[in-house]
Symmetry: C2
Subunit: 421 residues, 2 copies
């Protein structure tokens, strides 16, 4: 019976999240990793008896969650049937909201990205306006796949601000004050009544993306650092995302690096973000252009009408401009100072760097690394790797899909307790 | 059939760790929390059918892991039987090794402490000498309970240095260089061939103790800070101990607090430990005594033959001595500086403070709190509690028992994977 002839019967009448038991969760986890499996594979992976394996597979097959995807090679006797997750169950949407841009993807149920849209956007206005545009774009993505709106089962969203994860709302977000206490979840629910909506911080979803499809796949303890307009971190501990007690974990942009530093918009002095992020790099570049310390930036400033972007400083650095190199080195050293403390505290095996600064090349990376190696303890740094994230540009949307997927099925391991898988 | 008439049949012939399945793990977890339960209680807690519950209980009963502990009140019909863990299965030993002292306890299988021994000790010598004394003390503890050495099923140990947890050995321990690469596990194994031996860092076991029996019982994210001769942290993330990728997580004593500070024994400058821990407090106290800035400490120094202990500075502070107060305040501020960064990064709900400084009263605590509140972000501090650990003196040995207990039973959730429960 080929896959396309099957109809998912019960599932289409249910609304996500789908409640499953631990046995089903094991099967779904195995399928996500491996794609297609025979019942013998399931037995090997789970350690179950043949009888129990058949029983669980039958149940999932009858409910339309599994479909047959063909036959495997015979190892004697009849050819064994291959099972995979029923992709016709529906679709997922992942959204990565940045300060000045928005990226959306649509994926199938195993997280394969089918289509992508990116456009400039401004989060500083009313959330309704922003999210209505989001809804239009989701409809475009769905149409491109011939997918009906009620086939979208889950939407994962990353937003650039502190999120109360349990309630799915932003708390005192400095970049987007109009969004405070606004329920993104309810707003999108009205447009997609069947979809489960999960909201998280932008750096958390980047860490999830790295864990899901980047170099973090097999890692238990790592930190994802986003450097752009601000600086933040996503944390993986014991293989799980660590959001902290109120969901604000990873807010490293306001760690003090210089007690005599400038006043930050948070009210404190010498915050890492105020001294080392994109705007600080641009500001120092502007000074170097005006003072003539950097002839390259002076020229750029004149061409740009008096403006210097962080990318300009990087371009100058690539051209061998000493003043620009020094600016980038200083940023790297300050970021390294903070990371050195965090390495001592957290002992990650890897630090991945992403965000707008992720294409800044080796000078930044070398400065960060040398401070961390000098300032952290040998036991913590011997096997430590600090690198740019290879999936930096996609980490956000991949993570948003992973977030949606994790919450689409929940394990009922106790009458009162649900766990995402 | 009363409990004392039962014989644990199979278990006594097996060697720990005991491999169990997920169902058994659920039953054991419930019994650890509740003490005694009826089969109806098990059904409610696990969500299992009556039939399955009876089956699992029967299996554990026949294997001597559960025993009957009497009868519960009837709620109609026959009085239901009450089950508990079979305490006659054996005993556990917890050992907390400090720089200058050793504490040992023996407990039953639900972690109730039955007897305790503490004595001064010196870890700087050969490990064999130290551990032979340990073995004598374990025999004393066992004898006090009429327990044979082969009834000791597991020994949990905390040591004051970085531990490679998987291998159970110390790695470059500054306080106890002779212990480098020495296998504590193998040495104790020879004396107690049946016992499982689990070795961890001293602050990790304190965090475990707080999670097991202190104010951390229901908390998912907290940091336990030990301040004494050194400064270290134990970390709980998502309810689990976070040891980091090489087991060195929590090593906060060498985070830099002053780039112009003194050189630390680790080779860097301005480390927290070198500037704020016990020896730094004593050293500053001695200076205040010599200069006459503290008349109280001057008097103490003369009585003590030229020596000042950290406790003396605290005593002076309690008497209203301004110089001593300032010394303790400075330590608190530096510890607060580091914790402020960690609060932004980790967003714990609680910070518990223990170690030799845990009885230093309010001045230290107030200094720490005020810096953290000023320097961390509001979302991270609104619900943050910073307090001395109420079980500070016992956190280590309780945690060592918890460590032993967690590893005594392991869940086989996959043919190749074992998880402590």
């Amino acid at each position: 019976m080929p896959a396309e002839m099957l109809q998912a019967n019960q599932v289409h009448e249910m609304r996500p999240p789908f409640r499953i038991n631990k046995d089903t969760a094991q099967i779904i986890r195995a399928l996500r990793k491996q794609g297609c499996l025979t019942s013998r594979d399931f037995s090997l992976i789970t350690g179950w008896s043949k009888a129990k394996t058949f029983q669980v597979i039958d149940h999932l097959f009858n409910n339309g969650i599994l479909v047959q995807a063909g036959e495997a090679m015979s190892i004697g006797g009849r050819k064994p049937r291959l099972f995979c997750l029923n992709q016709n169950l529906g679709y997922l949407v992942g959204i990565d909201i940045g300060a000045t841009s928005i990226d959306l993807v649509i994926s199938d149920l195993v997280g394969r990205i089918l289509q992508r849209i990116s456009e400039p956007a401004d989060v500083r206005g009313k959330p309704e306006l922003f999210l209505n545009r989001c809804i239009e774009l989701i409809h475009q993505l769905a149409a491109s796949q011939g997918c009906q709106p009620d086939e979208i089962l889950a939407i994962g969203i990353g937003v650039p601000g502190p999120v109360d994860f349990a309630r799915g709302i932003l708390v005192a977000p400095p970049l987007m004050p109009e969004w405070e206490n606004f329920s993104i979840r309810e707003f999108l629910h009205r447009a997609f009544p069947k979809a489960l909506v999960v909201v998280d911080n932008d750096v958390n979803i980047m860490a999830l993306g790295e864990k899901w499809a980047g170099n973090g796949v097999n890692l238990d303890h790592f930190i994802y650092v986003k450097i752009g307009t601000g600086i933040g971190a996503g944390i993986i501990s014991n293989g799980l995302i660590h959001r902290g007690s109120t969901g604000s974990a990873g807010d490293i942009g306001h760690i003090c690096v210089d007690k005599n530093g400038p006043i930050c918009k948070c009210g404190n002095v010498g915050c890492l973000e105020a001294m080392a992020a994109g705007p600080a790099i641009a500001e120092k570049g502007l000074q170097a252009a005006r003072s003539g310390a950097s002839p390259f930036l002076k020229q750029l400033m004149e061409v740009n009408g008096g403006i210097i972007h962080p990318e300009d400083v990087n371009a100058a650095c690539r051209e061998g401009d000493q003043a620009a190199l020094e600016i980038i080195r200083q940023s790297g050293q300050m970021i390294g100072d903070v990371l050195a403390s965090l390495v001592n505290f957290f002992n990650p095996s890897h630090i991945f760097i992403g965000g707008g600064i992720a294409n800044f090349g080796n000078h930044l990376l070398v400065a960060i690394r040398s401070v961390v190696l000098r300032r952290s303890l040998p036991l913590a740094t011997t096997h430590l790797s600090i690198n740019y994230s290879h999936i930096a540009a996609d980490a956000g949307v991949i993570g948003a899909i992973a977030l949606a997927l994790e919450h689409l099925f929940v394990v009922q391991d106790h009458p009162h307790r649900l766990l995402p898988i």
